[in-house]
Symmetry: D2
Subunit: 286 residues, 4 copies
């Protein structure tokens, strides 16, 4: 990732000439456009854009662009961010007992595909501690019982704050989150659900898929909200199955979907390719 | 389809040596095995097989095999059929206003991919009458109102009997069927639902898929039962969509899924490749 | 398709501020942007954009935009077009003996998915004449032998001119085109090849796919050039196959790929979503 | 994997009654059939079968079945094996500098999806040594230059013999193998090629895919023969790409195809699901 690349993400009520004004702002600052995505949702009358551009000319880099964009942003009533693409996203990973989603994230991060720093891995079980620590990362075991669950999440919240987490990834973390936790990290918690949502939301989706006799199974990467398995969908993946696949086979094929959907969804988020609008996610794929 | 090809479909409680006995029966009759499929469902302890074989030696063809197989079938408590593969399935198609599923069936039948005879097309609207009659087929318009619906289905049932229908295809027929009709034609009514079931069962699935922001849409070919959109699934198809696809776009892409899933599912049924077991369909694909 | 929608397609050498200038032009003319696509090819240093916008304010519609864009186009050295989206593309379809690709185009056109007028269908065989004429279209049979092939294409060229063809679709037309014909209709001949190019270019691809034992087969929709099966690729589709699929089965599954890839590729072309750059096609999908 | 499961793999010239005789043999020995696959290639007149069955009754297990099957095998001129499913396949992995294929194999093996023992990883570069040794495996660095290549492969051959390798996996090993090495390990070397073969056989396939402007890229898992990228194909995987994917993006998406195709292909081999017949592989998938 080039050190000079900046990313502007913006959404606002639609109006004539918006793309021209936003791209004009970048050109006026001396930015050289590398990649531009735009989408107008005609149903809701909303405008979305993501611009990646290169800049040497501004002495303060991101800060100059931010202060320069502010007046226009106010005028068009925009939600917006400008970030340096090379800055990694500080990401806390939460797991239970299964390791495939975690292993996938670790490999993607080490390979450079996923621009994250992982200051901490948290689990409600001790099982994956050795794997995490062998990878040179910190592991926090927070046991959970129904009675102490809220207290456990207070501890998790404190740990996330302590490491300045910008993103929380639920990599097959098999616990429902308290509403207050979802709100605190709104649009910053990414979950991988092991079904093709909205089919088989909730527990034990592969067993239910087997019993229903579906011919395709899948996985869904989405933002967590306080409603279970219901937040904006970032990415989905499916694979064809047949009658001879038992529940164990569905889980095996499903893990491949989970790993792919999570890896892609995470990358889209980390590269500022996702803009949330109500229950839907606008995703400028790469 | 070779005139000499016969197809034996059999399911029964599992036992040691079943495949050997069933294939032994065919060999003993002088049948030359062309294609053999077998599946044992270890969860339910059930055995399924489909054998396609060629025979010249039996003077009465199908009849000889049927009477030859009966004692073994009784002993192993089998559900079974033996049919000549070249005999077309007499198929009544039911439609409402949209023509894509019907057009697909007509082309598949005319191309020889789908071994059906279509003695009648029935609709609750008059719109597709000209298209059907231009294709040289008979069209029956049965208007439906809530108050007269049961009477309308009595008329449809009589028409199906009159043409000796062996199969009824709901090719985007947008009406819920009466329970007695589903029971009368159990395992002989095939529906194409315009979503990836069990997601978005019921009305208006593309609108709901849009609102939920899914990243893949699909279609499901299944047997109709008296529970809406809930019978055994024969085939499913999906296509990737993005945020820029509005409801009209989802419908357009969805039609491609519907056409493919219906065409394949129908072919599987017509070629005796589907064995139903409770809520699941065993499908020996080709 | 809304009568007021116009589409601007533009490609030119990359420069700072291009998107801002082009979108600024549309906004300045009073056009309301509906859909904007942009791509910069950093390898070749080339800029591509497609803008769909709505306009009531210009008295002469397309003509005003064209004359308004000319000075900017000259300055940025652009290849460009501005068209009214609702104007159908006059399309000549060429076929040999197989009807599936033709049937697909006819259904797509009749359903409104494909904005074409088909003034003529041409074939080197008489077989599909009745089907074409039953659809209410004109059919021209131009027999071809090696010795008279060039003369036959002179006749085809004259027929295309007579109906003012803007596009020629080779819907499984099994003849190599003369180089002069490809040049005359450069970027206006679309072919569907029955393999996943560049694998199995040339004759009899399904047989070769079978012999090679591939596990996926496909189809490729591309612009025809004077080099066989080698022009810019617009769309491809694949389907998984297994060892039990013989050549006839591969052809059957392959037809589904051919129909989908051709239908989508045609739509992309007809909606001005394709920009050609050397051997590659930029496709702004929908 | 149940300790009692045995797998019989058999191929031979087709004849009437073969499946009955082979399944009859298993039943006669007291084996309880778990899974049966059969395929008759009508073009070549060849019969293929794979039977998985459970047995407690034979005192010597595999040995009893082997000696019991021999007379029948001789009579039907069969190529055949009987193996205990739970016995891991001793697998040597060969790599160059890229780690994704190796990481995938290691995770699949550790997760229990892939029943292999990996006594040794060999590379022509030192780069992946630490990763291998951190995983607790042995690493052998065999530098290669054109002049000493044959000698290097003699060393590799000796190392494979020393660890009693039953399978060699080329996990992105970027060197052409000598013909004698391919012959020595015929049908026991599995390669992952980073294209959808036969497209882009040979070097640098992603660059060539980019230049050709294909809309789908892929990977191929196949047996290595002395003809480069040409042995029987076990598994292929593809992913849709667009014009905005540069060569680096194609490599990134391609790695996902490579990992999946290799993991599945390996599993099929290790579970005795692959039967080779000339240039084609019969694969009884699971």
């Amino acid at each position: 990732m080039d050190e000079r690349t900046l990313i502007l993400k913006v959404s606002c009520p639609d109006a004539v000439g918006l793309l021209s004004r936003v791209t004009g702002f970048v050109a006026g600052m001396g930015g050289n456009l590398l990649e531009a995505h735009q989408f107008t949702d005609s149903l809701s009358g909303w405008f979305f854009a993501r611009l990646a551009f290169e800049d040497d000319s501004q002495p303060d880099g991101v800060a100059s662009y931010r202060s320069g964009f502010e007046p226009l942003a106010r005028e068009i009533q925009a939600d917006w961010t400008i970030r340096r693409a090379s800055t990694p996203v500080r990401t806390v990973v939460m797991v239970s007992r299964e390791d495939h989603a975690l292993a996938e994230i670790l490999w993607r991060a080490s390979s450079g595909e996923l621009n994250v720093e992982i200051p901490l891995v948290i689990s409600n079980h001790a099982d994956l501690g050795p794997m995490v620590e062998d990878s040179g990362l910190s592991f926090l075991h927070v046991p959970m019982k129904a009675a102490t669950k809220d207290q456990a999440f207070r501890e998790i919240h404190a740990a996330c704050q302590a490491v300045d987490a910008g993103l929380i990834v639920l990599a097959r973390f098999m616990q429902v989150l308290p509403a207050w936790f979802c709100e605190t990290y709104a649009a910053r918690i990414i979950n991988i659900h092991h079904s093709f949502l909205p089919a088989f939301a909730g527990a034990d989706p592969y067993r239910r898929a087997y019993e229903r006799g579906v011919k395709l199974i899948g996985a869904t990467c989405h933002y967590a909200t306080d409603k279970l398995d219901d937040g904006p969908i970032i990415e989905q993946e499916v694979v064809r199955v047949e009658h001879f696949h038992g529940i164990t086979d569905l889980k095996r094929h499903g893990r491949d979907c989970e790993r792919l959907a999570l890896a892609r969804g995470l990358r889209f988020h980390v590269e500022d390719r996702v803009l949330i609008h109500g229950p839907r996610a606008i995703v400028f794929r790469d």
